[in-house]
């Protein structure tokens, strides 16, 4: 067996190997296999370089083409497209909105229309950070329109910071900043905003902005929509849950504002949440098709019960009241309300526009619209022109008062300068009396002396007179220095 094995090997045996007949050392077969492996390696190298050349050639010819389809052997005609999802399926019965949305992971769309709101943004973001509703379930949508200040850059900066927050509980869901200018000529300052004449057209423009924001941001996965003004100063952190718990289609809290003490400390702010009255309905019938009734102005006396005036600071915050018009400061509504088509009429809908018209339309479609009279949030106090005028008057009064005070002091000083202090008078009188007494004594003495001497008396008498004059001048100086010190 052994010799034959050696023979088939085809290599001459060395003498050493012959000695170790049964050696099965692996080295022995190396020389035979080595050239084949080398050849294969060389071939592999040749093929690789060929492929590289072809690839380079390909890239040279089609510089724009991606390598991906080549690597995937063309199984997908475009690699990127394969990764893109183009079909979405939503079941709207899963997004109806329930009383305990945070447990069922219901998503909320938070809408905030902004115009020249730079000064309020930081305060608003403070509120955002404090919301207790899970942030990742809240999508934020802002509409920035016709702003002349730094609203947009500041908003982007604050949002970027919020989304990059270290705390995993801070970042929100989808964030959209929508820029759209409506070319509004209406100013946002307090006076023009609340003047009666400007109300109707202003409300229609506001409504338009709200509709654009909602229609661009509402998605099929939203269960709730929350409208919030950025100039709310104080609100409970749990407001979303608090309002949601009532499980109503549309719900608003009461909105008040703090006032300076001279104005009574606090005041109802949002007068757009009200219940319909017979008077108002009768009034509406008499008005032109395009007329808009706005609340809170003497021009239209509607005698409606306002949510704002029904507040009792110690009342049950869960108490509900059915309302017909709603204010827009803080509205929580089920998304299905907006899906059904309820929006903020930018025309006169049943003689109302914007949020009041929204309430009316929701009612028209048989949705529940509710206000919470004793659950209050506080709007920022911005002094109105009247208030500013009043405050200016108060400032003037204060200055006048101060001047008066100063004048009084001045007068007192003058009086004191003109009339000497009675103390010094007394002092003077006292010294005078003493001097008198001393003189008397001296007289008696001199009399006695005169009686004693009789012959030489005229010399001593002339000595006493200068002494008297000296004492008098001393008292005078003392009285002079006293009022001067007081005036200082």
């Amino acid at each position: 067996m052994l010799p034959r094995h050696y023979a088939s090997n085809g290599y001459p045996r060395s003498k050493d190997e012959y000695k170790e007949t049964y050696s099965i050392s692996p080295h022995r077969f190396q020389p035979r296999t080595a050239p084949a492996a080398l050849r294969r390696r060389r071939q592999l190298l040749v093929r690789l370089t060929l492929i590289v050349i072809i690839l380079l050639f390909g890239i040279f010819i089609w510089p724009g083409a991606s390598i991906l389809p080549v690597l995937s052997l063309g199984l997908m005609s475009s690699g990127e497209d394969f990764q893109l999802e183009t079909v979405r399926y939503y079941d709207l019965s899963n997004v109806q909105g329930t009383a305990r949305g945070w447990e069922r992971e219901e998503r909320i769309l938070l809408c905030a229309p902004l115009r020249d709101a730079e000064s309020h943004l930081r305060m608003f973001f403070g509120h955002l950070r404090n919301f207790t509703y899970p942030h990742h379930l809240i999508d934020l949508a802002f509409l920035v329109s016709d702003s002349k200040d730094q609203t947009l850059p500041l908003l982007s900066q604050l949002l970027e910071e919020l989304q990059a927050d270290e705390d995993p509980k801070q970042p929100y869901g989808e964030i959209s900043i929508i820029e759209k200018d409506f070319g509004q000529k209406v100013n946002q300052d307090v006076e023009s905003r609340h003047g009666f004449a400007a109300q109707a057209s202003r409300r229609k423009l506001m409504a338009q902005a709200r509709n654009w924001l909602l229609s661009a941001a509402l998605r099929p996965y939203h269960s709730w929509v929350y409208w919030r003004d950025v100039d709310v100063e104080t609100a409970p952190f749990t407001i979303l849950e608090d309002l949601m718990r009532h499980n109503k289609d549309v719900i608003v809290p009461n909105v008040w504002r703090p006032l300076p003490d001279w104005l009574g400390g606090e005041q109802p702010y949002d007068l757009n949440s009200w219940q319909e009255s017979e008077t108002a309905l009768a009034l509406a019938d008499t008005l032109d098709e395009d007329a808009v009734i706005v609340e809170g102005y003497a021009e239209y006396a509607t005698w409606r019960p306002h949510l704002a005036y029904l507040r009792d600071p110690y009342g049950d915050p869960d108490m509900e009241m059915d309302i017909d018009g709603v204010g827009g400061v803080s509205i929580l509504a089920k998304a299905k309300v907006f899906r059904s088509g309820v929006h903020f009429p930018a025309f006169s809908f049943e003689k109302h526009a914007e949020t009041e018209g929204f309430g009316k339309m929701a009612k028209r479609m048989q949705f529940s619209v509710v206000g919470l009279p004793h659950y209050t949030i506080w709007h920022l106090y911005e002094p109105s022109v009247d208030d500013i005028r009043h405050m200016e008057e108060m400032e003037k009064e204060r200055i006048a008062h101060e001047e008066e005070e100063k004048e009084r002091v001045e007068r007192m000083k003058k009086i004191k300068e003109q009339f000497t202090d009675p103390n010094s008078q007394w002092e003077k009188d006292k010294t005078d009396i003493q001097n008198e007494a001393m003189r008397e004594k001296a007289k008696e003495k001199t009399k006695a002396e005169a009686a004693a001497k009789e012959a030489s008396g005229s010399e001593t008498k002339s000595e006493a007179a200068p002494k008297e004059a000296k004492a008098d001048s001393k008292v005078e100086a003392k009285a002079d220095s006293k009022p001067a010190a007081k005036a200082q």
Binding site: A36, Q43, Y90, Q163, A216
Partner: protein, 373 residues
């Protein structure tokens, strides 16, 4: 030993043939993506990074880090001042949203959609389907066609994005048969439900980048392929073609067509007087003998020989095919599910749009065709 020897014998000719084959394959592979790269680039550019994005754009799936942590979605700016709707929608790359309330799926409808010559990468389709047995069947049929088109169909035919929604309320009528559907007393409830479906679909899919909204009923089976371009060319806020139906005349046994949609009309004195005498919750209906309105119906204005671009002003519009500038809907014009000036659904929509300052136009000689049951 065999393979080793054959390798050794490789002849240079084989290598050359291999190289040539390789080049041919590469050419074949790279051809499609280089030919319509603008379209696919647009697709890629419009893709959003997460599924919460506006549904009118495709999205990439990953929104979790490798360690399972949620990546917060980015802050996205939408410049709506730049969203235009002009008479040259293709040239200005304007996006179109085609909305269809779907009760029954017709293959002809889908084929007609695929035939539309408007660039498909600018079209988003959205459907709303009731949650009942018929709806489930329609959804299944629709999804099958969608998969065929979007996954394995030619890239040119693929739409930018497709949204399927299931309605959150029951349709008021069990039967969708034509006779039952058109009974007068059923009309109000049916059309109110239809309005809700339309509004739900519209306001959840409109998004910030849509320029045009095309309402197309699921039973419209034939339109000119250039429907969108033709209608948009008129540059009107609301524009309606005339909806007809093809049928085989039982007497002459010949193909013929008849008007189908009577909701596009010009108002009449009689109709206004009728409305004035009605209660707040009553609705005026068109096409019923019991209620003669004497309105001028666009359906009867069609003239074979006249110019297809002829325009007529309208006061009420039908929804079988309806092209609307997105800003009309954004301003708040919706389909009232309640009697609005005694009008409901698409007719109420035209009225609401008018209250907002947008007028409606009809094209009596430009026809689309309804399915014949």
């Amino acid at each position: 030993m065999g393979p080793a020897r054959s390798l050794r014998r490789t002849n240079p000719l084989t290598i050359i043939v291999g190289v040539v084959l390789c080049i041919v394959i590469f050419v074949f592979i790279l051809q499609p993506s280089s030919s319509d790269s603008t379209a696919s680039q647009l697709r890629k550019a419009s893709a959003a990074s997460n599924p919460l994005s506006p549904p009118t754009s495709p999205f990439r799936k990953q929104n979790e880090k490798a360690n399972g942590k949620r990546i917060p979605p980015p802050v996205v700016h939408y410049h709506m001042n730049n969203v235009t709707s002009t008479s040259d929608p293709v040239g200005n790359r304007e996006t179109v949203l085609i909305l269809t309330p779907l009760a029954k799926f017709y293959q002809e409808y889908w084929d007609n959609l695929l035939r539309l010559s408007y660039p498909h990468e600018l079209i988003t389709l959205a459907f709303i389907i009731p949650k009942n047995r018929e709806g489930n069947a329609a959804t299944a049929a629709l999804q099958e066609q969608i998969t065929k088109t979007q996954k394995s169909g030619p890239e040119k035919k693929r739409f930018a994005s497709i949204i399927i929604e299931r309605q959150d309320f029951e349709p008021p009528l069990v039967s969708q048969s034509e006779a039952e559907r058109h009974k007068m007393e059923n009309q109000k409830a049916r059309r109110a439900a239809m309005s809700r479906a339309r509004n739900s679909l519209l306001f959840t899919t409109l998004g910030p980048s849509t320029s045009w909204v095309l309402w197309l009923d699921a039973d419209i089976v034939e339109t000119p392929p250039s429907l969108i371009q033709d209608l948009a060319a008129h540059n009107k806020p609301i524009i309606v073609p005339n909806c007809f139906q093809r049928f085989i005349d039982s007497k002459t046994r010949r193909r013929a067509e008849r008007p189908y949609d009577f909701n596009s009309w010009q108002d009449s004195e009689t109709a206004q007087q009728l409305a004035a005498g009605m209660g707040k919750d009553d609705i005026l209906l068109e096409g019923y003998a019991q209620m003669a309105t004497y309105r001028t119906l666009m359906a009867y204005m069609a003239d074979e020989k006249a110019d297809p671009n002829q325009e007529v002003p309208l006061d009420g519009v039908g929804g079988t095919a309806l092209l609307v500038k997105a800003e009309v809907h954004r301003d708040g014009a919706m389909f009232p599910p309640f009697p609005f000036y005694n009008l409901i659904e698409t007719e109420g929509f035209a009225k609401m749009a008018k209250r907002l300052g947008w007028s409606s136009t009809g094209l009596p000689n430009y026809k689309v065709y309804h399915y014949n049951e």
